[in-house]
Structures are given as structure tokens and as C-alpha cells.
């Protein structure tokens, strides 16, 4: 005789809705749940770390971008400064080049001063509206009018002719203003729209010749120069 099965005797009042335990394979449900929760926590932590790293990297890149922008601004500012200096240097070069043709004239005027005369101020400016015309403003201390004559001869010797001269003299101080027009000996005749040649003299007769020479055209892009000559020593 074999009574194999272990029988459990129970005499208590049975509860009608006693439910049997769930099958063992359904333990996968809570296991998967806890696994999902654990995985979620791990992934959240991982993402948090990555997010923090990304934020730090973003800040670093922003700082680097700001630094680069600042350096770019500095370079641009330096470049602007260099360009400005280069432009000014170019202007100076242009001025020097533009004034090169007047230098013999200025040297001639200065060297033509007599020992008893001195230059108070000498100003030569190219007319911006007509670059062929050069405004001459000369102030002298001179005892006689010979100094003006010799100066005009010196100007004429450099192939410049004077137009619209205006001379004022008072107490040994001569203020001479005229428009110079370069007119070499073999130059073409001055066009009809050239400057008027009627000299105006307030206290002395006009010293310059009255003519309407023709001047070769000067490039419009020529720089205007306003050299000031200091009085001759």
C-alpha cells in the first residue's frame, strides 16, 4: 500500500473567495517591473550625467565662441586700425606724390627771398573744384615791392602763371594771393572756360601777367594738397 500524496486536513470554516496563488512563471511580471524601474533609474542617472556633461560642454563651447568672437572683434579692430593707418599713409603718400610737383616751386619761392625779407606764411592749396588751379597765399615782411616781383619771376620761371592776383600791403607786410596755373612754355593753350585773368588790386597794381593760358587737364582724382610753408629762415 502506498499513500503517496501528503493530504492536509483542515476543519476550519472555509472562506469562499480564497484564491489560489498565481503561477510561478508570472513572477516575471514583478521581476520585469522592478527591472524596468531599475533600468529607468540607471538610464535616468546615465542621461543626467550625459546631460550635465553636455551642459558643461555647451558652456565651454559658448565660452570658446565668445572668446573667439572677442578675438575676432580685436582682430577686426586691429585690422580697421591698420587699414585706417594704411589709408592715412596712402593719403600721405598721395599728398607727397601730389605735392612733389610743387616742391621746386616752393623751394624756388623760399630761396628767392632777399635778406631783408621774410616769409610770414606761405600756403599753397589745390582748388578742389578745379584741380588745375593752385591757390597761393603768401604773407611777407618786405621793405619794397621788389620782393614780390622777384617772387613772381621765380614762380614764372617754374612755368606757373598767376591769375586773379590780389595784393595787400600795409606797414611792410605784404599779403599776396593769386591763382597759379601750370603752363609750360610748350603747353597747349588754356581752354576758354579757364579762370578769369582780371587782376584785382586793393592797394597796389597787379603784379602778375594778365593772360588766359591753357592748362593741360589734371586727373580728377589728384589729391588736394594744402602745404604750408613756414617762413624762410
Amino acid at each position: 500500500m502506498k499513500i503517496a500524496r501528503r493530504l492536509i486536513d483542515d476543519l476550519k470554516t472555509e472562506r469562499p473567495n480564497v484564491t489560489p496563488p498565481l503561477p510561478a512563471y508570472l513572477r516575471l511580471v514583478p521581476i520585469l517591473f522592478y527591472g524596468a524601474v531599475l533600468g529607468g533609474i540607471v538610464l535616468s542617472g546615465l542621461f543626467l550625467v550625459v546631460l550635465r556633461n553636455a551642459t558643461a560642454t555647451e558652456q565651454q563651447w559658448k565660452a570658446e565662441a565668445a572668446e573667439t568672437t572677442r578675438q575676432l572683434a580685436e582682430v577686426q579692430a586691429a585690422r580697421g586700425m591698420l587699414e585706417s593707418q594704411a589709408r592715412r599713409a596712402g593719403d600721405i603718400v598721395a599728398w607727397v606724390e601730389g605735392a612733389r610737383s610743387l616742391q621746386p616751386l616752393l623751394v624756388g619761392i623760399i630761396r628767392g627771398m632777399e635778406p631783408t625779407s621774410s616769409i610770414i606764411s606761405l600756403e599753397i592749396a589745390r582748388d578742389p573744384s578745379n584741380s588745375r588751379q593752385i591757390k597761393l597765399d603768401l604773407k611777407l615782411n618786405a621793405q619794397s615791392s621788389r620782393q614780390i616781383d622777384s617772387t613772381l619771376q621765380e614762380i614764372a620761371s617754374h612755368d606757373y602763371r598767376t591769375y586773379n592776383p590780389n595784393q595787400t600791403q600795409s606797414r611792410g607786410e605784404v599779403d599776396y594771393q593769386a591763382t597759379l596755373l601750370y603752363q609750360p612754355a610748350r603747353s597747349l593753350p588754356v581752354p576758354a572756360d579757364g579762370p578769369s585773368v582780371a587782376p584785382k588790386t586793393s592797394s597796389a597794381p597787379a603784379a602778375g601777367p594778365s593772360a588766359t593760358p591753357k592748362t593741360p587737364p589734371v586727373p580728377a582724382a589728384a589729391p588736394s594738397v594744402a602745404p604750408k610753408a613756414s617762413p624762410a629762415p
Binding site: I3, R6, L7, D9, D10, L11, K12, P21, L26, R27
Partner: protein, 296 residues
């Protein structure tokens, strides 16, 4: 589905039997919780605490009516159980009898728990609860019957003191059932092939109750059961066994003896009285508590 169901699934409690699921082993229902084991007799109640891992801890014994004892000792008992669940061994007002020609349907021993009339037929009595052990080789059955009133009184007494009844069994019947399983655990063909079938006398002593079953071969021939039959002195039990053996044509070839606790003098006296019979004492430490708690 309620929130509790979800909680039970997430705490794995839904994969264990419910605390009052009578079909599940006690150790499966409470694998980690402390529970209280009670042995309720007519005028005495003993108890032990079953802790995690099947360890039996503090216990005690009190004489008197169970309701009074439960009321007075309830605070102490509640400390011995984590969730208030108790396993009660009923040791009084029960009858273990040998019946024959009961229905032998498949699973009838489980059906008797819910519909005893279907299992017992005309032998069913209202206001009684039953347990059944069929002899697979013979038309005899061991039937435990118990007054429903007694069970309800025990349940009410425990409930009044904030204790819950997880199981109510008859300790004597449980020990007898385990003893039958042990006696017939060998090769089932061994006794059939023997020239003369072995005559076994199975004796169960449980805190004043005694039950004797005579098995000849595979046949259960006689069963005698008394509750509240002896106290400290085991002389009435010895006399009962002696009368039984002397009334038989020949003394049993083997006497299998178990008691609720080791240390009984009966095995030695039986050996002395019946030298031709092999007396085997199968009592182990905390034998009753271990078996009603399904530890062995």
C-alpha cells in the same frame, strides 16, 4: 483589480498561498512570519511559536477552558505571531472511526472539505466537519469527525482576541495519517509477496488522547480512538494496548509508536510486555508541533 492585488503582485505575496488557504502547507503560507501553534484539549491548552526557518520558539501550557485561556493569554500570544495567524490542533470532542464502503471518487479526500455529503453519503451528519483517509488497497476509510460548534467556538474565541485562524486540524489524526504514510512508505509489493502479511499496530498518543490502528497487510482491521483518555500517567494507554493485543489471535509483529513529545515510557513497557513484537518509537523532538506545521 484593486490596489491590494497590485501590491501583492509587486511584493510577490500573490505567488504564495493565502494565509487561510487550507490546501497549502503551513510553511508555504508563512515562510518568514512568526505564527502561533495551539493544541486545544478539553481542560488544557498548550502552545508554541513557529519562527522563520521552521524554528520552534517559546511555548507553554495552561489548564482550563480554552475561551478563558485565550482571553487571558491573548496579549502574550499576539507577541508570538507577526500577523496574528494561528494553527490550532483540536484535541477534544472529535471522533476517529474506521468506515467501509465509502465513495471512492477521484479527489474525494479534497471534496470532503467543501461537500462532505458527497463524500460520506448516508454517513454524513449535519453540524459536523470531516476529514477522510481512504485505504487505496481496501474498502476501509479512516474518518475524522468533529463538532462544528467546537470549531466555531475556537474561531470566535481567537477572533475576539484579535487572532486569526489559519488552520484547525486534529493533531491525533494528523499524527496517525503521517504514521500510516511512514508505515507504508516501503515497497508496496513487499507485503503482498510475503508469506504471512505483517500485522502492524500503529499507536498515537497526543496530550491525553490515544488512537490505535491495526493494519494486517494492506487491510485496516481495527481502529480505537479516545480523547482525554489519560493525563500524566500512561497506564490507561498501556492497558488499552495490552487488552487489544491479548484479545487478538497473535500479538502484532511490529508496534509503531508516536507521541506528541519524546520521553514516553510506553515503548519500553511495550517492549517488555511483548518481547515477540518489534516496538519502534518514531517520536521526534516537538513531534506534534512539527507535523501540524508541516515541517516534516
Amino acid at each position: 483589480m484593486t490596489l491590494k492585488d497590485l501590491k501583492d503582485v509587486l511584493t510577490f505575496a500573490a505567488f504564495r498561498p493565502e494565509p487561510d488557504d487550507g490546501t497549502a502547507l503551513w510553511t508555504r503560507r508563512f515562510p518568514v512570519e512568526k505564527t502561533l501553534l495551539l493544541n486545544v484539549g478539553k481542560n488544557r491548552t498548550s502552545w508554541r511559536c513557529l519562527a522563520k526557518g521552521g524554528r520552534l520558539l517559546d511555548g507553554g501550557l495552561q489548564r482550563g477552558d480554552f475561551k478563558d485561556i485565550a482571553t487571558s493569554l491573548a496579549p502574550e500570544w499576539r507577541k508570538l505571531t507577526d500577523t496574528g495567524w494561528c494553527n490550532v490542533s483540536l484535541n477534544s470532542r472529535y471522533i476517529i472511526s474506521l468506515e467501509s464502503n465509502l465513495p471512492r471518487k477521484e479527489g474525494i479526500e479534497d471534496v470532503i472539505r467543501t461537500s462532505p455529503r458527497a463524500a460520506l453519503g448516508s454517513k454524513f451528519e449535519r453540524s459536523k466537519r470531516y476529514a477522510l483517509t481512504n485505504n487505496p488497497e481496501h474498502a476501509t476509510s479512516i474518518v475524522l469527525s468533529c463538532e462544528e460548534e467546537v470549531i466555531k467556538k475556537i474561531e470566535a474565541a481567537l477572533a475576539e482576541n484579535s487572532l486569526q485562524t489559519g488552520r484547525i486540524c486534529c493533531g491525533t489524526y494528523t499524527l496517525l495519517r503521517r504514521l500510516i504514510e511512514h508505515a507504508n512508505a516501503d515497497d508496496p509489493n513487499a507485503q503482498k509477496n510475503a508469506a504471512t502479511p505483517a500485522q502492524l499496530l500503529l499507536v498515537v498518543c497526543n496530550e491525553g488522547s490515544v488512537c490505535m490502528l491495526t493494519q494486517t497487510g494492506d487491510v485496516w482491521s481495527d481502529l480505537r480512538s479516545r480523547s482525554d483518555f489519560y493525563d500524566e500517567n500512561t497506564e490507561p494507554v498501556f492497558e488499552m494496548i495490552r487488552a487489544k493485543c491479548e484479545a487478538a489471535e497473535s500479538p502484532p509483529s511490529e508496534i509503531l509508536f508516536v507521541a506528541d513529545q519524546p520521553g514516553s515510557d510506553l515503548p519500553a513497557r511495550l517492549t517488555e510486555k511483548f518481547p515477540d513484537s518489534k516496538v519502534t518509537d518514531l517520536t521526534e523532538s516537538d513531534h506534534l508541533w512539527a507535523h501540524i506545521a508541516d515541517l516534516r
